[in-house]
Amino acid sequence: MLSQKGILRISVILGVLFWSLLLIIDMLTLFSTSNNIAFGLPDYVSKILLSLFVLSLLLFYRFNIGKAESVNFVDMLWRVFVTGLLATIVSLGIEFLFTIFGSNKFATNPLIVNFFYHIILGLVLAFLVSSFIVWKRLILYQKSKSLLSAWQIYEYALMATLAFDLFGSERTDPIFIGVYVVLLIIGLVLSFNLKWIAYLNFKQKWKSILFIVLVIIYLWYFFKTLMFFSERTTLVRDLLESSFSLSLFSFILLYSCISVLVILFNLPTTSVFEKKLEEAVNFQRLSQSIPAGESEEKVYEILLDSAASAVYSDAAWLEIDDEKEGVHITLTHNLDKSKIPEIKKATKSSTFKKILNSDFDRNPKSQKLSAKIKDIQFSSILLYPVSVKNEKIGSLALLKEVDDGFNKEMIDIIDTFVNQASISIENFRLLNEAIKTERYKEELNIATKVQNSLLPDKIEQNTAYNIVAFTRAADEVGGDYYDTYNLDENRTVLIIGDVSGKGTSAAFHMAQMKGVFQSLVQLDLNPKEFMVHANSALSRCLEKTSFITVSYFIIDKESKKVSFARAGHCPTLHYNAEKKETRYFKNKGLGLGILRNSNFHKYVQVNEFGYNAGDIIILYTDGITEACNGQKEQFGYDRLQTSLIKHATSKPESIQEGIINDLYEFCGNKSLGDDYTLLIVKFN
């Protein structure tokens, strides 16, 4: 396919070529007729050339004049104006020549006259075609399907006249008149498509009127010039005898006249249209969400300005008093801030006209008021509440110097503006909140990572037993704790702990527990001494309502004995492999941090038991036994026992898996609402 530039070039070349050929042939015809020499070429050859010339022009302008957009209406008219000006200047120059040599033989020589006439003919056609294309673009601005087909009919009909002209007919011929009238009627109908005018602003309208009036003047002048030539001499090619050019002439004139009239009548209402457009733009500005980092104040500024200008108010203010967000702003428009209290006072003592609507019924606090006030400067006020999430955060006041200055339409506009501003503010706040939440999440992620590092990565295995551990926190961080420590080659310490409560505070206390354990365990204390010291240390650092339950075991593989103490922690479940029996070690004990004085030692009891190969102890936190199912039944001690017996002969990994599966099956889901930990120790 040819590029647009290529088409333009070709159409220019063709246009010049056809026009030159037309000129030469017509000159030759004229010359031969005047000298009574028979000329070989028939008449229709030059007629075809003329038509081809017109088609070249159509092609050129079709591609040269772009689509109509609301921004370039005046530019398009400007082009028509310039083309016309060029044609006018040239024809004026020619006219001037004839005036100078008026009496001269030169001026009456038909050859010379026809030569100049051809120049004018070319220029006038170019002007007509360019205007035609521009008019077409304007008419088809915001086209509908029916309009488009009407226009196509008109264009085909116009092309048909071009063909009709080939057969030549007199201006007085009834067929000629018929064709002309039909085209005139279609043209007239099409001429009422003037939507583009509505999009012109005041200044553009004046410019358009000027350009179109000039187009009309050109048309009149060209017509006059052509008539002048037509009457003065015999013309080989009279443009006024072509139905195509006459139709084009009439159509352009018709549309020009109607446009001028319509623009003229539209002038007074332009300001209203411009206002509406401005409202739309303001509305858009309000609805654009505030970019992060900018303040809400920007939205309030836009709200105040657009509201004030939308209802032509003489002054206005916007007061925002949002306690919750700590936003206090007073913005004014054509008003001194110091005058606000005075106007408020005047407003209070005036008669109100409440604007009743559904909003008013629901929320008597946020009523919209319009009132007549007895102020020195202003006579009417419109008070409008500004709310975010149904909570009043401020008010917008619009003032006018005239009585009853606010009508229903204005109130509706303010309504939309205020609502849109509220939405923007709400979105802005939500966005900020989301960013904050995101940051908290990030912090919690870090906390989770830190806490995970507090629990042993991989629990240390021992020749005396196999051990596996399983732990889950209800929140990002939890309060369950377990650890091991080798005192010497025979003795190992095992600890499990549960901090009261859950979440972040529990996690902090769990970290403290780890510190206490790691410090005390190295002193090689017996379970009771450990508990007493731990209680003493934790009493100094736990919150008033916090405590930690702990079970502390010292496993001696040489004597195959375990000595342990329980500080309020869930009783350890023991499995005797030989008897295939389970039991809970319910020795006395008291949670760490509960009794914060020297009496604590009275409540610690140390127990001891011997073990054999295959014996198991289960250490766990209350998250396991207190886990509930849908009927609010707890998993409980009995089910734990049953589950252990069921899996007791397996490897520790399988026991753990089995118990956890039984637990999940009982609860029906995997989020138990509390931290839970399970340690399986199977002795060798």
Partner: protein
Amino acid sequence: MIDIKTNTENGMLELAISGEVDASSSIHLDNALNEALSVHKKILVDLSGLDYISSAGLGVFMSYLQQLEKENIQLVVFGMKEKVFEVFQILGLDQLLTITDTKVAALVKIENA
């Protein structure tokens, strides 16, 4: 979740706590106990309506132990369901609080003290 009723009788305060005490509702329990302890010297706590108490709830009871001792306040808890008593027992709080089965027994404890 939690429901706390107070009733003063013969200069003695009776707190009836029912429902469930978890981390969020333990605040109400804390407020009620705090208020009771600042006014009364003899307090009965009826836990017969209590279905569940979490460690946070136990922490509330625990946090007043020292004040009870220091200010010589008598607080007797009675009527606990077995499940609830078990929780107190495992933690060892049964050794520090005065707990009875019935209100009658609780009254006797307070009268005798």
